[in-house]
């Protein structure tokens, strides 16, 4: 399992568009991916409901974990979504 912490860049935080891109990325990898606030509980990154209810805002840190055969590719994909302006 690997873990990374990134600062959320998209203007509206983890809402509509970046959230659905993130879920898409998590679903398209075999590894189990989680996301959570730096200091809180993580949730399943394949669940739109869970991801949007985190309420992570722009400028806040998000802690990502991935566990599986393609774990580093999965985190690369998600990191690039979270660090690109919308």
């Amino acid at each position: 399992m690997i873990e990374r912490t990134v600062t959320v860049v998209p203007e509206n935080g983890l809402h509509a568009r970046p959230a659905s891109q993130l879920v898409e990325a998590a679903n398209s990898h075999e590894s189990q991916v989680t996301i959570g606030p730096a200091d809180g509980d993580s949730v399943n990154a394949s669940s739109m409901l869970a991801v949007t209810s985190l309420g992570v805002e722009t400028g806040e840190e998000a802690r990502l974990t991935a566990d599986g055969p393609d774990e580093s590719a999965a985190l690369d994909a998600i990191e690039s979504i979270l660090t690109t302006t919308e």
Binding site: G13, H15, A16, R17, S20, V23, S46, M48, T52, S53
Partner: protein, 566 residues
């Protein structure tokens, strides 16, 4: 008697237009859905399969809508469908729906409860989370609609020659109908002055309203004739009926002003709501536009039209009538024709609530300002003469506020270096208050325009959509006729011109009475313009005025009718 399914069957209704037609029946059943909790559950395996099928169907719909939105609007707007697709497959939601089904719930109840919990959680959090709750609600509705098998007929994409049958059609339903492809429609509810009838007239399509429960006996896909003269719908029409309804009887279109025999010029203008109807107005020889119902520009969309969009539409209508007047009525909305992106408070009686200028001067003031900017700019640019009138004015104070608002908009445009012109201004006379204040209003503006549908409704206290009081909803009642007479006199005493833009103006049996009342302009659905123009030429102003005076002295509708038909 047992109905033979293929036997000719006649159903009486009310002709909304003078047009007849022949076509293929197609029922439209919007939103008739059972309460999810009232659906009885089959075994869990069947219910699970029902849910999975609905989920697949919803997925297909969303993908199709996403592509359409991407093509027509843009990527950013299409993104909302991505979010919906993700929610639709959400493992948490799907698991909880499956659990509910295993616990014996029907697919409907399982969806309702699983989404309900998630919606509640989002609603408990402020801010952007409320939008997620809206997303979830939209997906929930979609799934429930698919599960119920409710109609998803796309009214804007019907085969050529369709006659739409429905219990009722809302303004947003009718706005989708394409007059070039549909052959007509028949509704179970509605009267001559209902929105649906006005709409049919403005588009010039055959329509029967108020056909009642009997209409349900007509099946999908059978041949149906609309006979406007007999005011009937005929299912399985025989050769004779077919021939009669397709024969047609068109009047010659006269363009240019018409005069009475003794030389009084009467402007016969058209009422429109959309640019499509503008063409109809030109084709039927209308002398300009007497009522442009701008609320139709705001219906059926996700956000209001921009200033530029409106400006272009107003210019287009002015350019269609370079030598005539185009009377634009500012946004007239209320709880009876709500618009999705605006807030409408729950009102006991929206017809007596926040509507017309009451909203424009209140909650919708930004929207109103945008509309005024577009209008003032179009007045300077378009070829014809722009006139602007305000709906549901009841007090002089409102008029003062409206004028201040226009001055404010004008000075802003001036500061921005935009070209603008202050148009001719008028007041719609629709309320008894406006009738009683007509003298003051005529003194303050350039023209008055009598909206007889609402005026009759308010003077007679008779809901125009309620068939139970349809007999009260008639402008030939002496109270309404005298109110109109009072308004015409007040206008002429103060050098204001006066027009009529309600359905009464287009009733060709009443043209003589209206000329006798002294109206300067009659504005109606485009299809009725040729008949009214033909009438004007046959009328003598002095005889009309005598007859009108006799009618005004009568004290019942039946006696007034006698004078009119003598």
């Amino acid at each position: 008697m047992i109905d033979e399914p293929n036997e000719k069957r006649k159903i009486a209704g009310i002709s909304a237009t003078p047009l007849s037609g022949l076509g293929t029946a197609r029922w439209y059943h919007p939103g008739e859905r059972p309460d999810p909790d009232a659906v009885s559950a089959a075994d869990p395996k069947t219910e699970l399969q029902r849910f999975i099928d609905a989920q697949t169907a919803a997925n297909e719909e969303l993908e199709r809508e996403r592509e359409l939105t991407r093509e027509r609007v843009g990527d950013k707007e299409a993104a909302v469908f991505d979010a919906h697709l993700k929610f639709l497959d959400d493992p948490q939601l799907v698991d909880s729906i499956k659990t509910n089904i295993e616990n014996g719930e029907a697919a409907e109840a399982a969806v309702k409860h699983a989404f309900g919990n998630a919606i509640e959680q989002f609603e408990a959090i402020d801010g952007t989370m409320a939008e997620r709750a809206d997303d979830l609600r939209a997906i929930q509705d979609r799934l429930l609609r698919i599960l119920s098998g409710a109609d998803r007929t796309d009214l804007s994409d019907l085969p050529q020659g369709t006659i739409v049958l429905a219990e009722r059609l809302t303004p947003s339903d009718t706005a989708k109908l394409d007059p070039d492809t549909i052959a007509g429609f028949v509704t179970m509810s509605g009267g001559r002055t209902s929105h649906v009838s006005i709409f049919a007239r403005s588009l010039g399509i055959p329509a029967i309203v108020g056909a009642g429960e009997e209409l349900r006996a007509v099946r999908d896909a059978v041949t149906v004739a609309i006979d406007a003269d007999e005011e009937i719908v005929v299912a399985h029409p025989d050769a004779e009926v077919r021939e009669r309804v397709t024969a047609g009887h068109s009047l010659t279109v006269q363009s240019g002003r018409v005069e009475t025999q003794d030389g009084k010029e009467i402007a016969v203008a058209a009422n429109i709501g959309t640019i499509a109807e503008l063409e109809q107005a030109v084709d039927h020889g209308a002398d300009g536009i007497g009522l442009f119902r701008t609320e139709f520009l705001f219906l059926d969309r996700e956000r209001p039209p921009t200033e530029k969009e409106q400006y272009e539409i107003y210019c287009k209508s002015l350019n269609a009538f370079p030598d005539e007047r185009v009377v634009v009525r500012t946004l007239d909305i209320g709880g009876d024709k709500p618009i999705p992106y605006l807030d409408f408070p729950e009102e006991q009686n929206p017809f007596l609530g926040k509507r017309g200028v009451r909203r424009s001067l209140g909650t919708d003031s930004d929207l109103f300002q945008t509309q005024l900017r577009a209008l003032l700019r179009a007045a300077a640019k378009g070829e014809g003469t722009l006139s602007v009138m305000f709906p549901l004015v009841a007090r002089l104070e409102e008029l003062t506020k409206l004028r201040n608002k226009i001055s404010h908009v004008a000075s802003n445009l001036n500061a921005e270096g935009e070209e603008y012109q202050i148009p001719e201004l008028g007041v719609m006379i629709e309320t008894p208050a406006a009738v009683l204040m007509a003298t003051e209003f005529a003194n303050a503006v350039d023209f008055l325009s009598i909206g007889t549908n609402d005026l009759t409704q308010y003077v007679m206290a008779a809901d125009r959509e309620n068939e139970a009081v349809e007999d009260l909803h008639d402008p030939r009642h002496p109270a309404v006729l005298r109110a109109i007479d009072q308004v015409v006199e007040a206008a002429h005493d103060h050098d204001a011109w006066v027009g009529m833009c309600g359905e009464m103006a287009g009733n060709s049996e009443l043209t003589e009475l209206l000329v006798g009342l002294g109206l300067d302009e009659l504005s109606m659905s485009a299809v009725t313009v040729p008949a009214v123009k033909a009438n004007v030429g046959d009328i003598s102003q002095s005889e009309a005025s005598n007859r009108c005076n006799r009618a005004l002295m009568k004290n019942t509708k039946s006696m007034i009718n006698k004078v009119i038909n003598q």
